[in-house]
């Protein structure tokens, strides 16, 4: 672990510059993606990646150069390119960052159970193969896939203020999906995939419940084929955690990103319906809504001690009892706006610069069991597992779709319905939050696929959420 640390430190000390300040962020990532599709092992995709980003500050202007050449000569050349870039953009620069505080922290962060070996590639294939073979023989089951992604990331951050931050993390992404087809309609049921990932070792797979999941997932896909379409009209909506994470992500996470509010993302990811003046004033949701930025849940995807600019991370309430308090803004956005924020300046890898990202963005548990949530609904629907997401560039008008729906009548779960969709407006939706599940309904989930930024970056984010009920939401089905 951190085998390049000593060399990097030596190179860092030997770098020569006229810059007032510079930092080096080295990232090494190795990956392994395995899948068994319809009982046939797909060839494994392995990867080994490493490189470094040098960031300089020169007369208040910041610029970066990322390089795959981490020799002393390569790093020196990158540093000089960054300096040249800073000089070139100076007459046109938006920001003067000479007074922005820089980190001098020293810390290490490790994923849980990092010292425990992960099963071998052939053991992993056996596990996936056994699960794939457990999908029942039924000619309507036309496609299925059992997969396992594994990523190791090491990052070393050094700067001229003395910061020395090391992180070693292991991420595990199991998934199962099955598609059923009856000659007319097709329905897919998924467990995990882009809805699940955690830091840790093999115990992540146990927590996920991969072993034995395939027959149940296949049965649910067949049930959906036989199910009627979701009826149209307003209903109370019970969202399970694997849909809540998408709901949090799109209609709380993105609109609270401070760089969006400051306009950086207007050309691509978009802006926000939230204004800087709303913090401390806007009743974002009902009194039941408590949203936290929490880097301290060890297994969650974006738990860390420091962000990629070196700022120490700690748990913060962004929304308390429905009141909007704090944005998702890292050190630079805080400096620009004069607002307080969180340690969420993050980069997808060595070749992209840190920007404001979600990290672990969670909804705090309430006090209702799942039975109580269901029992409190007279005319409603349970929806589970996101399959479709669409929201406007200000993160306000949205339409989301799930794989699995179940009607709720007079406090009881009833029949399965297919193609469950719902649409609403963020600014109103969270005020309709009428019940929040307790810790027994909470799941620690996340996604490896959050896209944003120019140049584009895809990053891992964590979301933990209980099941939640929203009153009187516009619900509808599909065409089939």
């Amino acid at each position: 672990m951190f085998e390049h640390h000593a060399t990097l430190k030596r190179h860092f000390s030997a770098l020569r510059t006229t810059a007032d300040f510079f930092s080096l962020r080295y990232v090494r990532e190795s990956g392994q993606y395995l899948s068994v599709r319809k009982n046939v092992a797909e060839p494994p995709h392995l990867s080994n990646d490493e490189g470094a980003m040098l960031t300089v500050r020169l007369d208040g202007v910041e610029a970066y150069a990322a390089t795959n050449d981490i020799s002393l000569a390569g790093l020196q050349a990158a540093l000089e390119r960054a300096e040249q870039q800073a000089r070139q953009i100076k007459p046109h620069a938006l920001l003067d960052v000479r007074d922005q505080h820089v980190s001098s922290d020293i810390a290490d962060y490790l994923s849980p159970d990092l010292d425990q070996a992960f099963p071998s590639l052939s053991d992993c294939y056996h596990l996936l193969g056994d699960e794939s073979a457990a999908v029942p023989k039924d000619e309507r089951l036309v496609s299925w896939d059992v997969s396992l992604g594994l990523t190791h990331v090491e990052q070393i951050y050094l700067n001229t203020a003395g910061a020395e931050l090391r992180q070693a993390q292991r991420f595990v992404f199991p998934g199962v999906n099955v598609t059923a087809f009856d000659g007319n309609d097709s329905q897919t049921r998924t467990l995990g995939g882009s809805n699940f990932g955690q830091q840790g070792g093999f115990e992540v797979i146990n927590r996920f419940g991969l072993v034995g999941a395939a027959p149940r997932i296949a049965d649910e896909a067949l049930q959906l084929l036989l199910a009627p379409n979701t009826p149209q009209g307003p209903r109370d909506l019970l969202l399970m955690p694997d849909q809540m994470i998408l709901q949090i992500h799109e209609s709380i996470g993105h609109p609270l990103e401070l760089d969006r509010i400051l306009g950086d993302e207007r050309n691509y990811a978009g802006t926000s319906f939230v204004k800087a003046s709303d913090f401390g004033h806007l009743q974002y949701g009902s009194k039941l809504l408590n949203v936290t930025f929490d880097p301290n849940i060890p297994e969650q995807l974006a738990s860390y001690s420091h962000d990629d600019d070196g700022t120490a991370a700690s748990k913060q309430f962004l929304i308390r009892e429905g009141l909007l308090i704090k944005p998702l803004g890292g050190a630079l956005s805080q400096f620009r706006s004069g607002m307080s924020g969180v340690a969420n300046s993050r980069a997808s890898s060595w070749n992209r610069a840190p920007i404001d990202r979600m990290a672990n963005l969670n909804i705090e548990a309430g006090d209702k069991s799942l039975a109580q949530l269901i029992g409190g609904i007279e005319n409603g629907i349970l929806m589970s597992t996101n399959r479709s997401w669409s929201i406007d560039d200000a993160r306000n008008k949205f339409q989301f779709g799930c794989e699995w729906g179940q009607l709720i009548e007079n406090g009881e779960l009833k029949g399965v319905v297919k193609n469950p969709n719902y649409r609403a407006i963020s600014a109103q939706f969270w005020r309709k939050l009428s019940a929040v599940g307790d810790a027994s309904t909470t799941k620690v989930l996340g996604t490896p696929n959050c896209g944003k930024g120019e140049p584009n970056q895809v990053i891992r984010v964590g979301h933990a959420s209980p099941a939640c009920v929203f009153s009187n939401i516009d619900v509808f089905g599909g065409d089939a």
């Binding site: 046939v40 060839p43 494994p44 995709h45 392995l46 080994n48 490189g51 980003m53 960031t55 910041e62 610029a63 970066y64 150069a65 990322a66 795959n68 050449d69 981490i70 990158a78 390119r81 960054a82 870039q85 800073a86 070139q88 007459p91 046109h92 620069a93 938006l94 920001l95 052939s122 294939y125 036309v142 496609s143 087809f181 097709s186 897919t188 306009g263 950086d264 207007r266 050309n267 691509y268 802006t271 070749n351 610069a353 399959r387 479709s388 997401w389 669409s390 406007d392 560039d393 200000a394 339409q399 779709g401 193609n419 407006i425 120019e454 140049p455 584009n456 895809v458 599909g478 065409d479």
Partner: protein, 438 residues
Amino acid sequence: MNTFKALVEWLKQAITEKEQFHLSYAAEASEFVRFNHAKVRQAGQVQQASLNLKLINDGRHADLAITLAGTPELDRQRLADGLQQLRETLPLLPHDPYLLLNHDAWHSHNEQAQPLPDLALVLEDISQATDGVDLVGIYAAGPISRGFASSDGAFGWHQANSFNFDFSLFHANGEAVKANYAGHTWDSAEFARRLEQARNQLEFLGRPLHTLAPGQYRAYLAPAALEEIISIITWGGFSAQAIASKGSSLQKLYAGEQHLSPLVTVNEHVSGSLSQAFSSEGYPRGDVTLINAGKAEGQLVNSRSAAEYGLSTNGASSDESPSALQMAAGSLAEADILKQLGTGLYISNLWYLNYSDLPAARLTGMTRFATFWVEDGEIKAPVSTMRFDDSVYSLLGSQLEALTAERELLLSASTYGQRNTASNLLPGALVKRLTLTL
């Protein structure tokens, strides 16, 4: 190219008689400059190079992506380490029944070395043209290289210098117009013309917003708006594997149960495009007619699907998505668009599309950037952001009235992981009925 060739030569002598390889190469040196409020918000340079090594031995194979260091000795060492890692991996794998290798020793070479624009000039041009304008966006420029070689002697090389300035101009009321200037040679006058065009549209966006109720409206989808619809369809829509496994949104089109308007003909037209003419699996890529006069025709077939479903490969990518898609032009003259639209919506861009019902090809998405309400052929007012929910079989089928005679070449501004070389050549589409829902 020499760096890649040297690695190929080393690998050829390093493998055993029983082993075979595919080696692909991707490199770029990119300048990225982000703008906000017409000033530089963030700027930097990225230098990256990587290999993808596939090692094949006795029906088993595995892929390894390796980031190169940029120094010959270390690069050779990383390739040697990678070869060893794959040698240790292959015995752990079962035979792959869908391995289909191309043993042809094909050659392909495309190199374009137009000088890149000088960043100082670009910054000065942008600064001058945006006086008093709120511009936000990204300028990306630099050389891109792609290579492929196999142990059977195939060799492909693609290298091009390019720039892509993707930007929007914002009115003080929050409305915006999107524009793009991309290509090989930066022409200050041409850039100024494009910016002026966008600036002119901003004037319309300053008018009071026209509020629309959900309902059905006539609409004109400009090429960039149509591109959003085409792009989501290409998420597996033309993929042989997705069609066979019922994950394609066009499964009913390919089953012959649905059809589009006879005006709709769609091709993957690799020849002459900005994308490389070879796949990462070692096959030359051919042109494919995907939809012919509203009916499904070809599919995008990679070697794996070819083996699994008994089809012929056409050099499709590993995800079987197009990268040089063209839609045939129609007959609606640009000057007649507003007149023929009459009363309805002029939509410059759509945004964040997804499926309401995938097998039914039913889509939802948002209007974004410069959407106008038109009455009797005249632009009246900008329209607030609206959500639509409609079927492809309606929008490009029963409700498609006309396609424009002029098409626009839309170059991808995507930079996930690396700068994208995909493009779409598309007309605008006039539709009789677009359903707005929120």
